[in-house]
Amino acid sequence: MPQPPLRHPGNHNNAMKTLIAIKEQHQSWVRDAFPNMHPLLLPLCNKPFIEYLIDFAILAGSREIRLLSDGSLMEIEEICQTGSRWGVELTYANIRPEDGERELLHKNRKFCNGSRTMILNGYTFIDYDKRLDYRVLANHSATGPIASCSTGSIAFAGSPEPAADDNPLPALRITPLDSLRSCYHIAMQILETGAERYVLPGYGSEPGCAIGRNVAIAKTAEIRKPVSIGNNVQLLPGTIIGPMAVIGSNVIIDKGSSISGSIIFDNTYIGEQLEIEGRIASGNTLIDPESGASVAMEDPHLLTGIHSATNSATLLRKTIHALAAAILILLQAIPVIILYPLLRLQGKWKNGPITQQAGLAETLAARLSLDRFPLLPKVLLGQLAIIGSAPRSNSPGCRPAVFSYAEAEDWPVTGSDAAIVERYHAVHSTPFNDIGMTIKALINRPHKRNAGAAA
C-alpha cells in the first residue's frame, strides 16, 4: 500500500524533482511475453514495477514526479492519475527514442524549474531499502550518474548541497530488468529480502507472508514462508504454497498441487496434482525463466492433470438440470404472465436484461430473474445447462447455461476473472452442487444493477 509522503524540508518550489524516463526499446521483451500488460505495470512480487520507482522517488524526497516515455502512457495515467494516492504530484510527457539526459532536462525545463532533479532513466530495478534515508543521497551527490547498468541509470542534475558531515552516502545498486529471467530473479530477491525493505501490499502482518484480500485457504493447504499472495485467491485442499512462491490475484490452485520458487501471474488456474518449481505461470502459459522456453497449454485438461475428467455424470447432470429448470418455470410462470405484458408495453423489457429498476414492477422482475425465463425451456431440451458459463460464451471447455457460476459466486466480474471461476466450477461442480449454485445465482444476481449483464 502507498505510504504517506515524506515532507521535504524547505521551500516547496525548490524541492527535488524526479524525472522517470522509460523507453520502448527496453520494454519490448515484456510486450512480447505479456502482450496485454503495460510494461510499467509488470508485477514484481505482486507490486507493479512503476510503484517501485515512485516509492524510491518519494524516499529520495521528491514531491513532483514526471513520467516520460516514447510510447503510450494512457493506461498508466488512468491507473496512477495525479499521484494523489502517494501524496505526490504526478505528470506525464513524451520523449523521442533517441533523447539523452540533456534532452530530457531541456524538454522538461519548466517542470525542473532549476531545482535539483533526479533522473531515473531506463527499465531497471532499484534495490532500495525503505528504512534508509535517500534524501541525503539526493541532496549531496555530485551532479551526474551515481549508478548505472546495461539498461539504465540514476543521475542527478542541478547543484548539490555541500555535505554537512562525513557520513558516507548509502550505496545504491540497480539491476537491469531485461528479460523474463531477470524479472524472475528480482521477484525472488524481493521475496527473500522481505517486505521490510520494499513497501509491499498485503494484510499479512507476519514477516515473509503477505496475503491479500478475499483469499480462501483450505484447512489442509500448507503455506511455507516466504510467500506473497494477491487478492481473490483460492488455495484448495492439499496444496503446498512455497517456499518462495509469488501468487498473483484471481488465482486458483487446485487440489494437491505444489508451487515453489515460482511466480503465478494474475488470472491463472493451476489444475490438480501439479508441481510447479522454478517456473513462471501466466494464464495457460508455463515459462522456464532460465532458458526462456515456454509451453502454452492448449488443452484445459492438462491443467487438471493426467486424469481426464469423466463424462459419466452427463446424463445425471442433464436430468437434474432439466428438473431444476422445470421447477423454476413453474415458479416464474405467474410473475411472468403478470409482469411481462406490463413491462413490455412500457418498453422496459426488451430482449435482454432488465436494466431500469425504478418502478416496483421492474424491481420485482429483476429480483426474480425473470429476464432469464425465455432461456429455461432450452434446459428442458438439453441445449443449455441451468448453471455453467455465461449464456453466450461458447468457447471450448465451457458449458453455456442460463445462469453462470460467476454470478452465483458474486465474483468481481471482469471478463477474465469470471472465466476462471466458470472454468473451475465446470470441472469440479457435481450436479447436486449445481442446484445450490443456481439458488445462489438467483439470490446474488439482481444486486448487480450496473454490472452490464449483457456483456
Binding site: 496434482q273 501439479l274 508441481e275 510447479i276 518449481e277 517456473r279 508455463l286 522456464d288 532458458s291 522456453a293 515456454s294 509451453v295 497449454m297 492448449e298 488443452d299 485438461h301 492438462l302 487438471t304 492433470g305 493426467i306 481426464s308
Partner: protein, 117 residues
C-alpha cells in the same frame, strides 16, 4: 513413428522415434503401436528428439505404455526431451516415473548396463 530393434548384451531394445506432436489425434495410435512393440520386447526407448508438443492425452498414452512395460518386467525410457516437453512432464510429476536420457543411444546402453554382472 519409426521403430527399430537393437540388441545389446543379449537384450533386445525397441527404440521408437516419436513424431512432432502427440495429442488426442494420435495418442491412441501410439498406444496401439506400442502394444505391438511390447509383443517383441518390454525394453523400450521413446526418442523424443522430434517431439515438440504434447498434451494430456499424449502424456496419458506414454504413461500407459510405461505401465504395460513395467508389468512385463521391462521399462520405458525417454530420450531427447526438449525444454517445452520436459516442462510438461515436470509439471504433472510424470517426470519422476521415467528414466530420462539426453539421447536414444545412452538410453539403450543403460538397459545393457543394468544387465552387467
Amino acid at each position: 513413428m519409426a521403430f527399430r530393434l537393437e540388441t545389446q548384451n543379449g537384450i533386445t531394445i525397441g527404440i521408437a522415434e516419436l513424431d512432432e506432436r502427440l495429442d488426442a489425434e494420435n495418442s491412441k495410435a501410439l498406444q496401439k503401436a506400442c502394444g505391438d512393440w511390447q509383443q517383441q520386447t518390454p525394453f523400450l526407448v521413446f526418442d523424443c528428439t522430434k517431439l515438440d508438443f504434447i498434451d494430456s492425452s499424449g502424456l496419458g498414452a506414454i504413461v500407459s505404455c510405461l505401465r504395460r512395460s513395467l508389468e512385463k518386467n521391462g521399462d520405458l525410457k525417454l530420450a531427447g526431451l526438449n525444454a517445452k516437453v520436459s516442462m510438461v512432464f515436470e509439471l504433472t510429476k510424470a517426470k519422476k516415473l521415467f528414466s530420462i536420457f539426453s539421447n536414444a543411444s545412452d538410453a539403450a546402453a543403460s538397459f545393457a548396463a543394468s544387465r552387467q554382472p
